[in-house]
Each structure stands twice: as C-alpha cells, then as structure tokens.
Symmetry: C2
Subunit: 379 residues, 2 copies
C-alpha cells in the first residue's frame, strides 16, 4: 500500500470509526484501525465485536482528488496513536507507505513517522448482511428518538436486556421503549415501511448514543437494515453495525395505566426549575425524594427536606387540574431526566394513586410517553 | 438578621468566597459560609484555615439599592447547598431571615427554603493584618506571573515548600520562582515599591491559581499586603488571605548557567507543534523522553521512539544557531508546559552540554526564564 491522502478527509473518517474502539478489548488486533486501499479509495474499519464501524474515502469527491493510490494494500495501525497523530500533522498532504513487516511510513511536511503495523489478515471479517429488511428515516428524527429514550435504560449489567432499547415496527409505526424497572421512556413515529416489519429487536442504548454522535445535524437520511442478529445503519459513507441483544424484553404494556384519578397540565420549564431546586436538597439525602401535593386552591406544592440541611417548598400554578387530591413522592432525578427531553411547552401528568405509576406526556406530542414509579413512602 | 438582597450581587460574592471552601475540611463550621450583616452591608466569609476569602456587598452601589437591612445579625450557612440554591432562585429579589436556633428562611418568588444554620460565634476570627508592607500592581500582570510559574511547582507533598512559589521584592524588581527539582520557572517585573521589600516569601501555588480565578480580566489593581505569616490580596471588595508556607526555599540561583556551549533561536509555535507530535509517542513509554539533535545543515531534529508503536522524526529550521553540535534528551511534557506560557513568537534555548540544565528564554521578554534538567541517557 502506497498513497497520498488529504489530512482533513482522513481525519474525519478516523474520528468516525474510532468510536468502535474499546479500551477494554482483550483481542490485540482490535486495538487497531484496519485500512484497506484499492483503486476506488480507502476503507477504514474498527470494531469491538459488539459494534463495528466502516468508513469509505473515495479517490475523488466533487472533482476533488482526495486519495492518490500508487499501490493498493492493507494494514492495521494502533488506533490511539494513529487517531491523535494524524490530527496534528503539519501539512494538509499526507504520504503513507506500508513497508516490510507492516511497518508504515507516514510523511507530512518535514515530519516523518514510522508506525509498527499489524497483519490485516488477522483482522476479523465483518459478517455479510442481507439487505431485504431496510427502512429509511431522517437522521435528526432518529437522533431525537435515541435521546428521548436511552436515558431510561438500565446501567446494571446483571439484566443485560434492559441496557438496550426495544424496537418495534408494525402497522406504519416505529417505536422505541427503554426501562430500568423504575422508569420507562417510549417514543414512536409514523413510518411507511411497505413490507418491512419486525418486533422485539433490542439494541444497546450505549451503542445508540455512539451512533447519534456520527449522524450529522443537517439533513441526512439514515438507512437501517435489520438482519438476524445485527442491525446495520448506513449514514453517507459510514456503515455502523450493531449486534442485537440476546434475551426477551419484558412486556411493559400492562404497567402503563390509561385512565387516571388525578390529572394535571403544567408548564414544562416552571416544573423543571421547581423540581431542580427541590432536587438540590433531596440529593443530600441520597434518595432524591421529592413530594408533590395538590393544594385546595388548585395549585400544587413541590417539596423536599433533609434533616441536616433544611427544606424547600415550592408553590406552582397549574393550567388544568382534574380529579382527586393527591400526595405522592418520587425520585426527582428521574423527573428531571424526563423534563430535559420534553420539547413541548406544556405537559400532562396522570396519576392513579400514590402507589401507582406516574405518566408524563408532552402536550403536543402524542407519540411520546414517560413513566416513573413513585416511592412507596407513608406520606 | 433580616434583609432583602438582589440575587446576582449575592450570587457573585458567594462564587468568590466559596473558592476557599475545602471538601476535605475536618472542622464542621468551615463547611459553611459566614454572613455578617450590619447597616453598611453584608460581609461573606469562607475559609479552609490556609486560605480565607471575604467579600463585601454594600447596601447601595452607584445609587442602586442592593441590600435592604431590616435587622442586622450573623449566621453560618452550609456552603455547598447555599452556593447552588441561590443561583437557581426564581426571582431577582431574595428575602432572608434568621430565626430561632439559626434556622434561616429564604424566600424568592413562590419558593420558600428553610436552611439549618450554624452559630456564627463558633466561626474562627480572621487574624488582623498590619498594612504597612503594601504594594500595588495591575491584576492582569499578577495573573500572568502566576500562570507563568505555578505549572512548575511540585505536586509532591513530601517537600511542601516546593508546592509554593517563591517571592522576592528588592531593588525595584518583583520576582516569582517555582521549581519541582526537575524544572524551574521564573518571572519578574519592575515594581516601584518605595520602602517595601521582602525576601523568601513562599505562597502555595494552588492558592495562587485560585486567586487568579477571582481577579477580573479587565483593568483591576490588586493591593498586596505582606505580613508576618500571611499575605492579603485586596481585589475590589474581595479580601483574599493566604498563609505563607513554612520552611526554607532552596537557593536556585547556582543551578542556572549564564554562558552556553550551544545556542538556538527558534519559532515558538513550530517547536511547540513539533514536540507535541513527538510527545504523543513518548507518552506511550511513560518516560515522555524526546531527543533534540543539531544537524550539519544548521537545522535541528526532534525525535522520539517507542518499541511497540514506532518512531517520530521532525526536522526543524532554526533562526539562529551558534556553538557546538549537540544531542540531548528531555521530558517533552515539561517543554510543552513551558511553550504553553511563552507569549513571545521566538525563543532562545541555551545548552551547556547533554547533562546540564536547558535554559529557555522568550526573545522579547528578558524577565522570564525557564529551566529543564535533561535526561541522563546514553544517546
């Protein structure tokens, strides 16, 4: 392999694929990034076996030459050093040449670097994927669904299935659900998918957050291919492979109440600021417990207390109030996580009693739903 | 104590004094901020015994009423919670009232907070300082001298005196020196101080960095009062007290060579980028060793190598070169720390041999000097 390549383009692709590099890998070859050069361009590959990312740099783009290939070939280079050094090279033009024993010479300006490379034959081959189950959606919508659900995944590795986000696609609806047994987040969109449908696909929440970072903010379409045991995301010239998690996701539909005994409509920002203040105190008690109580004048009171520090009491106007008076306690951190992703100015909170799930819905988005289990305290 | 006070002004003063709060204090009352209110205004005090900070909020400033005092008095409030809650109060106006047993009621908008306060009589009294040894200097100059020296202090608590910066004022020169025995940084300025002079005052480098954060960027004059065992900095309405470190600072004047066998003048930015690339590799070997070698064509070569990763070789043009050919090895991290604070476009490096101190001086600042001890390697 012997090429000239432009620094910015190489750097961008390295940044994309390096997100698949795990510092905890026990397979030495996977600490590297694989480069494959042919006369169409360069393909970079990185993997931690659960996630694999591939980026392609064409020899030419918009009539601009990006790679000049003198000799095709492959090599695996140590990711950590390669990622940092390319960024810091002095010139926009980089020469790379793989020599005897995969030693790789990199030249840029008056800088000369020799990197000890590894044999690309040792690098695992990415499994082929059949593309008959493919859907397409706008990238920003996908990012939004990821952000709106992954905060509710479990961080506890003892129930690995709950570290994932559940996907279902049927009857024109594409739905994400995440829960850690104490709270639940669910978002859906309408999606015309013709013959494609799938159910109970679970994908790691952490992986989805990494995927989000690769999806550009501007108008991009992401193609999603669902295969037997993995999902492939195609974003421009980047291919992002994620393993599907093994196991059966719990049926969450039964725990979501549909009728309520008490209903409130509130201003999202006011509620958020109010709970944030109560949280500051509840945090000191480690429990994060905040109390919500309806008052006789139709407003509500948010409060928390700490034996050592004192107490916070907030009175909050509500836009609508119906049903029974209520006193309920919940984890303020969970509520703040939800309020952070609600974009609607107003939200609806439904209660079926002090011991039953609290349901939060943005007022102008019927496809999102959040649930928190209350604390079973005596007050 | 019963007052009304404006949120932004209170918050700003809290931010200042809270820098003296240590999370590791073993004295419970010092986890709090002391508030003293009289009819002139409010004084806030925080201390970790080594550093004490006081901020004064006048009842009126520029004809704007800031504090309305209904009843004078004092209280100590838990710093961590107080710092965060004031910032997040809903209204610009805050009511504070100390009640029975130092319970403190805070009201803002429809938020009501009760904080468990502590008895201000238990709070240590700040020692009085005689102000006969006072100098004044521009705040940005002081910040610059702090930034230009504190990076060279020792982080090793076994020689506490080296965790400080040495101050000397005599014959119109005010000088800072810091060293950790492997490197040294020294900066001086001309300062007309009339009768004031002092020698071998040592102040904690960490404390000086905290002080830096309080000094505003715009034109401020800082008054510095040097007393028996402490130094007081006056910045607008903030008083910053620092303990003087006990012990004798080593005499560093003898280790600084004044004649050189090899001298180079180099572009600061080019050298910095070049060593940064070599550092990336040297870091992997934990030693951070980089080699500098003069070449026959009058340029220099910067290089580093790692048995596992490979090597980096950089050729660098020099503006001036005089003296003997040279090969020397040093810690690239130390050199980068220096290059970060050198503002001059070009710098002078003087060598007296591969085993002797390296002296770095900015070309247009004769009052700054940096020293690195080389590695005693065979090449």
């Amino acid at each position: 392999m012997k090429i000239r390549i432009l620094k910015n383009e190489l750097n961008e692709s390295i940044q994309h694929v390096s997100k698949a590099i795990s510092s905890r890998t026990t397979i030495p070859i996977l600490t590297g990034i694989k480069l494959d050069v042919n006369f169409q361009g360069m393909t970079l590959t990185a993997s931690d076996t659960d996630v694999s990312i591939q980026a392609f740099i064409p020899v030419e783009d918009n009539n601009k030459q990006i790679v000049k290939v003198e000799r095709a070939g492959s090599v695996v280079l140590p990711a950590k050093f390669f990622v940092e050094i390319i960024k810091k090279l002095p010139s926009q033009e980089i020469e790379m040449e793989v020599q005897e024993g995969f030693q790789t010479l990199i030249r840029s300006g008056s800088t000369e670097i020799v990197i000890v490379g590894l044999d690309p034959e040792e690098y695992p081959i990415l499994p082929a994927i059949e593309e008959d189950q493919m859907i397409s959606m706008p990238g920003d919508l996908l990012k939004n669904m990821i952000k709106g659900t992954t905060f509710s995944i479990s961080s506890n590795e003892t129930s690995p299935i709950l570290t994932g986000v559940l996907w279902n696609l049927s009857e024109g609806q594409f739905k994400f659900v995440a829960t850690d047994r104490h709270r639940l987040a669910s978002r859906a969109i309408a999606l015309q998918s013709e013959d494609v449908r799938f159910s109970n696909i679970v994908i790691s929440g952490k992986t989805l957050n990494e995927l989000s970072k690769i999806i550009p903010d501007q108008n991009t379409v992401v193609d999603i291919v669902v295969a037997d045991n993995q999902v492939l995301f195609k974003i421009d010239r980047v291919l992002f492979y994620s393993r599907i998690l093994d196991g059966t996701y719990p049926d969450t539909s039964k725990i979501i109440p549909t009728t309520f005994k008490t209903e409130l409509v509130l201003d999202t920002k006011q509620l958020s600021e109010s709970i944030d203040r109560a949280y500051l105190l509840s945090r000191e008690e480690k429990t994060n417990i905040v109390r919500l109580q309806t008052l006789e004048d139709g407003s509500i009171e948010i409060s928390s207390s700490s034996s050592e520090l004192g107490k916070v009491t907030e009175q909050l106007a509500v836009s609508q109030f119906s049903g029974d008076p209520l006193k309920i306690s919940f984890n303020s951190r969970y509520m703040l996580d939800i309020l952070k992703v609600v974009e609607s100015e107003q939200l609806h909170i439904g209660f079926t009693g002090a011991m039953s799930p609290i349901i939060i819905k943005p007022m102008d988005d019927s496809q999102s739903l959040y649930l928190i289990l209350p604390y079973r305290t005596s007050n």
